[in-house]
């Protein structure tokens, strides 16, 4: 293995492992309930995905993370190419072009692009430390912004607002934790405020605007989007403290929840396991994210730190947006719940991310 500064203690991060296995296990359990009434093959499918995900995780974790530093841009370019391919030969479903079919399996390159962007950002930041003690200037932020901006635009064209949004949030999370000049920070903030209405007018599709409006007032659309939010809230609320019992959620079993296996698994969980189960699940995610932040601090290597922050941010924003959405706190955006939702691309992306964390954690320095 490539070890420039002496030997690491190579050891398994059991905390990380237990967290990952717990979330995945609960996710599988939940999927069994959510899919039992409609499509039992989803469960088998997910088992395959998990098997594939675990393999990828093991491979990713075994390789020394510094190897990724070298191939970061290569992976990034591969990602960009696949995004371009989606736009040319991608499969159109529900009005957007997101899928690439490789043999029998379909994959969403936009999901995996998150990892590529994290790697590319980490590589760039690692290679260019702040020029002054005051922190990074706005000018220094242009190259990383470009690294995110290009794939962001490609994803918006698909269009896949959710993934694009996550990409931006990962970028801002990393930038926030960097040493920035106060002036740069202020300029960044105010530009976002100025950009928001422009995005509303020029970027957002009408159905996306409608979603946001419905979110602000669900009664404007009692059968469509508003109906989804209401049914999800009914599901969560009706779970009460102890839940309705496994496989006994009426909202899920009687199909009142839309796309419950991919977008609304938390509602299913919450209905059947109640406040108790929901608290535990949210707790697992929070500990996982805090653990990623802690890892970011415990590595001397700036590349490793950015990886941990990036992957942590990815977990964080996915969880917040998905859970916030199903609880009616945020508008409906198609964002999956990490390791919990049904779906191969999402599973693969988070398992690679987790693999990166494990790779870093297994090779951190102890003092």
């Amino acid at each position: 293995m490539f070890e420039p500064e002496g030997r690491f203690y190579l050891r398994v991060d059991w905390t990380l492992l237990i967290l990952l296995v717990s979330i995945m296990g609960l996710g599988l359990l939940n999927l069994h309930s959510a899919s039992s009434n409609l499509n039992a093959s989803m469960f088998t499918q997910q088992v395959y995905w998990i098997f594939l995900g675990v393999s990828t995780f093991l491979i990713t974790a075994t390789i020394d993370y510094r190897v990724y530093n070298r191939v970061a841009y290569f992976i990034y370019i591969l990602g960009i190419l696949s995004l371009l391919m989606v736009l040319i030969i991608g499969k159109v479903t529900n009005g957007s072009r997101r899928w690439l079919n490789i043999g029998p399996i379909g994959i969403q390159p936009s999901e995996l692009m998150k990892i590529a962007v994290i790697l590319a950002l980490a590589h760039h930041i690692d290679a260019s430390p702040p020029k002054t003690d005051e922190g990074r200037t706005l000018q220094e932020l242009i190259p990383p912004a470009a690294l995110v901006g290009f794939p962001f635009l490609l994803i918006l064209i698909q269009p896949d607002l959710g993934t694009g949004l996550i990409l931006l949030l990962i970028f801002f999370s990393i930038m926030f934790l960097l040493k920035l000049r106060i002036r740069s920070l202020v300029t960044l903030m105010s530009s976002i405020i100025v950009l928001a209405p422009l995005i509303w007018t020029f970027v957002l599709q009408s159905y996306q605007k409608k979603r946001i409006l419905v979110f602000l007032d669900p009664s404007t659309d009692p059968t469509g989007e508003g109906w989804h939010i209401r049914q999800s809230i009914f599901a969560i609320g009706s779970g009460k403290f102890f839940g309705k019992g496994y496989m006994r959620g009426t909202q899920s079993q009687y199909n009142f929840l839309p796309a419950q296996w991919s977008d609304f698994p938390f509602s299913v969980w919450s209905e059947e396991w109640g406040f108790l189960g929901s608290f535990v699940l949210l707790g697992l995610y929070t500990i996982l994210i805090l653990w990623a932040i802690r890892l970011a601090l415990n590595t001397r290597d700036r590349f490793a730190s950015v990886i941990c922050i990036g992957v942590g941010a990815m977990f964080f924003w996915h969880t917040i947006i998905n859970v916030g959405m199903v609880m009616g706190l945020l508008p409906i955006v198609g964002v999956t719940l990490p390791l919990f939702s049904h779906g191969g691309s999402s599973m693969l992306t988070f398992m690679i991310g987790a693999g990166l964390l494990m790779s870093v954690s297994a090779r951190r320095q102890y003092y």
């Binding site: 009914f234 969560i236 009687y254 706190l329």
Partner: protein, 622 residues
């Protein structure tokens, strides 16, 4: 485990606390939201989620049956396929389905659309009636396309059906959708919008008995409106999860379909009129017919406005119950009244003869005509050959008010007490009434007119039948009885109706004997008005009547219709056998012309039919 040591060199070291705080506080916000949804408002959301899938479906109670005295069914229920929509689950594209599959008309589609649009809030989860009584083929088509029509249900429900069609339609009545007033006027009936209730006849009069008590049944429905029946679904059902509907009570009429058929068959030659057959010794009505009749199936079904208008505005008045609601001049059938009055008041001797020259003179230069010159007449022959002149003379002796008093004793001028179809009282005029009504006041002519059942005397067919029954049974005036008994749907007695005597007419036995003898003579004596149409062997006693149609003067037109319209009404009121009377039959043929030609043969047929049928019944019972 390693200690958390912050590396000073790390670019992130200074801000990691903020990140930590941020992540934890977002976590707390989400937990807070969970607390709000699951703990604070958990109970409310539990109810809301239950409302999602729990549906209370009303189960309508089967309506009670209407049966004849022999237990033959006159009104029952059949299966009708009704289409319900649950707005919550209904998809817009289903309209195209309905249009293509069933070729529904635009109005029907609009009706369904309205229903769905108007349903708001909780009502969106209800089953709303969209199409009533669709053909079976439609039901099959819808049922086989069920999966592509979420929120649409075909529910087999009961609908009123009258297997005998037009038979006894005015007694049975018909059904109709309730009006807003019905709902207000009968709160105890718990009507709901679009419920049906009896609108006339027995269906109307015994609504509260016939109508059952509705039940309910809770169901678990999934998001596409499909019912769930497994054990897991069952645990959400409230307790009790169902209440079985209680079917309405059965009504047994005194009507005997066999006799009813005989009467209606006999009546079938004439388009307009009425007939009633009553048991002499009980007052029970055995047959009851009003023509033209209607088909209660048609009236209780999908009656188009134009057809309804046709029925209600027809000059033949098919919707009118001519036995109870029509009032007519009784004509010569009324002559029994001055006869009885004169006998009871001892104003006439049986052997007193008067000469009929064909007209009767009274006062100054006034004369009333008779059918022809009858020659010498006593009371008996005057009844037999229906001599007006004799009765003009007699009525002058009896006087208007005494005649009215006897008429009232026989039940004329007041309701018979049947409490059915809003019966009319008819009218018996008095001197005082004429004094008040007419500027010139009362005149002798009024008395003369009354004596022969003209002028202002108005009776109903049933009143006449009850009066003749009282003659036949020597003076007992019964309240007519149409309902024999009421039972619960499974046969337990609810109410048995008893024979009710309205009044005993304490006249001299000779009066009755004389009357019956004279009335027998009307049929049996060669000079009797009914002699030519008699059926030999039948011991029928009775009186013919030909009532002039008042106020209808020829308007010059000479069409068949107008000729018919201005013909007199033909009556026959009689009973048989006269030595031991069983039944009384009264027949009115509207615009039938001369009684002997229209009403008498018809009545004879009825008596004939009755005795034949009775003989067969006796043989069957042996």
């Amino acid at each position: 485990m390693s200690r958390l040591i912050v590396n000073d060199d790390s670019e992130f070291s200074r801000k990691y606390r903020y990140a930590l705080i941020f992540v934890v506080s977002i976590f707390l916000i989400l937990v807070g939201r969970l607390v709000q949804l699951q703990i604070v408002y958990g109970n409310q959301y539990r109810v809301l989620s239950k409302n999602n899938f729990l549906q209370k479906r009303t189960e309508e109670a089967p309506r009670g049956l209407i049966l004849d005295a022999n237990g033959k069914i006159l009104a029952r229920n059949r299966v009708a396929y009704n289409v319900f929509v649950i707005p919550q689950f209904f998809k817009k594209k289903a309209y195209d389905f309905l249009v293509n599959l069933l070729e529904l008309s635009q109005t029907e589609i609009e009706y369904i659309k309205q229903k769905i649009m108007l349903a708001e809030g909780r009502k969106r989860t209800f089953s709303l009636l969209a199409l009533r009584d669709i053909p079976k083929e439609w039901a099959l088509i819808l049922e086989s396309n069920k999966d592509s029509l979420p929120g649409l249900e075909i529910v087999p429900q009961e609908k009123r059906f009258y297997p005998q069609s037009m038979l006894a339609s005015h007694i049975i009545g018909f059904m109709g959708e309730i009006s807003a007033e019905d709902k207000q006027n009968f709160p105890e009936m718990n009507y709901r919008d679009q419920d049906w209730r009896g609108k006339s006849g027995t269906e109307f009069q015994f609504e509260s008995n016939l109508r059952g008590k509705r039940g309910y049944r809770w169901r678990v429905l999934d998001a596409r409106g499909r019912a769930q029946h497994d054990k897991d679904a069952a645990r959400w059902l409230p307790d009790p999860w169902k209440k079985d509907p209680v079917p309405g009570n059965n009504i047994y009429l005194t009507i005997d379909s066999d006799y009813q058929n005989i009467v209606e068959h006999a009546m079938s030659r004439y388009i307009s009129g009425a007939a009633v057959m009553v048991e002499v010794k009980t007052g029970r009505i055995l047959a009851y017919s009003s023509k033209p009749a209607f088909d209660p199936n048609e009236l209780s079904g999908k009656l188009t406005p134009s057809r309804a208008n046709e029925l209600y505005s027809s000059p033949l008045h098919p919707m009118l119950d001519k036995v109870l609601q029509g009032t007519y001049f009784p004509g010569s059938t009324y002559k029994i009244i001055p006869a009885v009055a004169a006998m009871e008041e001892k104003l006439i001797d049986f052997e007193e003869f008067h000469l009929c020259k064909g007209w009767y003179e009274y006062g100054r230069n006034s004369s009333f005509a008779c059918s022809h010159a009858h020659g010498l007449m006593n009371l008996e022959t005057a009844i037999i050959s229906s001599c007006n002149v004799f009765f003009f003379m007699l009525s002058e002796r009896v006087g208007m008010d005494r005649m009215a008093r006897y008429a009232r004793l026989f039940g004329f001028g007041s309701p018979t007490g049947i409490h059915f179809n809003f019966e009319k009282s008819g009218f018996i005029p008095t001197k005082q009434w004429y004094a008040q009504k007419f500027q010139e006041g009362f005149r002798i002519g009024h008395t003369l007119n009354s004596a022969i059942g003209q002028g202002n005397v108005k009776v109903t067919v049933l009143q006449l039948a009850m009066a003749y029954a009282a003659i036949a049974n020597h003076g007992t005036l019964y309240e007519p009885q149409l309902i024999e008994r009421i039972t619960t749907w499974d046969g337990n007695p609810v109410k048995d109706f008893k024979v009710k005597v309205k009044r005993k007419l304490g006249f001299k036995p000779e009066t009755w004997d004389f009357l019956i003898k004279s009335l027998a003579g009307v049929v049996d004596d060669p000079s009797g008005t009914a002699y030519k149409a008699r059926t030999p062997g039948l011991k029928v006693a009775g009186k013919t009547g030909t009532a002039q149609v008042r106020g209808m003067k020829k308007d010059g037109s000479d069409t068949r219709e107008s000729k018919w319209r201005f013909q007199d009404h033909a009556w026959f009121a009689g009973f048989a056998p006269y030595d031991d009377p069983e039944i009384v039959v009264v027949v009115l043929v509207e615009h039938g012309g001369f009684a002997a030609k229209a009403a008498v043969p018809l009545t004879m047929k009825i008596f004939e039919g009755y005795f034949n049928s009775k003989a067969i019944k006796k043989g069957r019972n042996k």
